[in-house]
């Protein structure tokens, strides 16, 4: 048997006590939730209620404010506006306003915003795996 108290389970790329798969550089060695840590940056990007659903809509193509409200009817205008404002500040989306009346604005993902797609896919994959593992808590096959 291997010693299991310290050097951890199945990591081969350990350097200086850190698993370099998990913590590739010093920004991941923090002992505090630093906003500069890449993990925190990514979580902040997709964080907040409704954000992933909103991103899903925008991944399907540019959408207007009204289209987004129609796609997510229970999302209030206030929260939608807040999410869009923050995503725009983070440069994950861009908005184009058509001048005139009634006003019309189209939101679309930036190149940076598109980089979130693999993360959303991984979130789905992981959540699916967790649901399978915990629903299969005891039994392994049917019956």
């Amino acid at each position: 048997m291997v010693s299991q108290t310290e050097p951890a389970a199945g990591n081969q790329t350990v350097s200086n006590g850190w698993d370099r798969d998990l913590v590739p550089d010093t920004r991941g060695e923090t002992r505090h939730p630093e906003p500069t840590c890449p993990v925190e940056v990514a979580l902040a990007a997709v964080g907040g209620r409704w954000t992933t659903l909103l991103l899903r809509e925008l991944m399907h193509g540019p959408r207007s404010f009204g289209q987004l409200r129609a796609a997510l009817p229970a999302l209030s205008a206030k929260v939608l506006s807040e999410r869009l404002t923050r995503l725009a500040l983070d440069e994950l989306i861009e908005c184009r306003r058509q001048k005139g009346f009634p006003s019309h604005t189209v939101y679309r993902l930036t190149a940076a915003g598109q980089t979130l797609k693999p993360l959303l896919i991984e979130l789905y994959r992981t959540g699916d795996a967790l649901l399978r593992e915990t629903s299969a808590h005891c039994g392994r096959s049917g019956t």
Copy 2:
């Protein structure tokens, strides 16, 4: 040029209006933040302040309550206890209490908990990509 108003950018696996890379099954077609959606499940697993740092520690191997406090000194006992309790309820970690005094408990990831590792790696990768893209907002190379 391709039409860019509706069928979205670069998705080839579109079915019934959904991008099947992003929304592989009906659980992802929700118009509301359902707790049963895999994406919500995964976000709930890693969500909450300190959680990813705590998971990082546990990915490096089993740890006691005190070891976790030492590794994350600014994390209060209350929040640490809350996180551990929730992770245990979600069956992402297990705890073993040594009977006797002073008491001693060791926490370790379950198989389900280990499945979060690829997600944490993807979060790091994505956050790193976002930091590169936004810091390179205008210039492409050093002057």
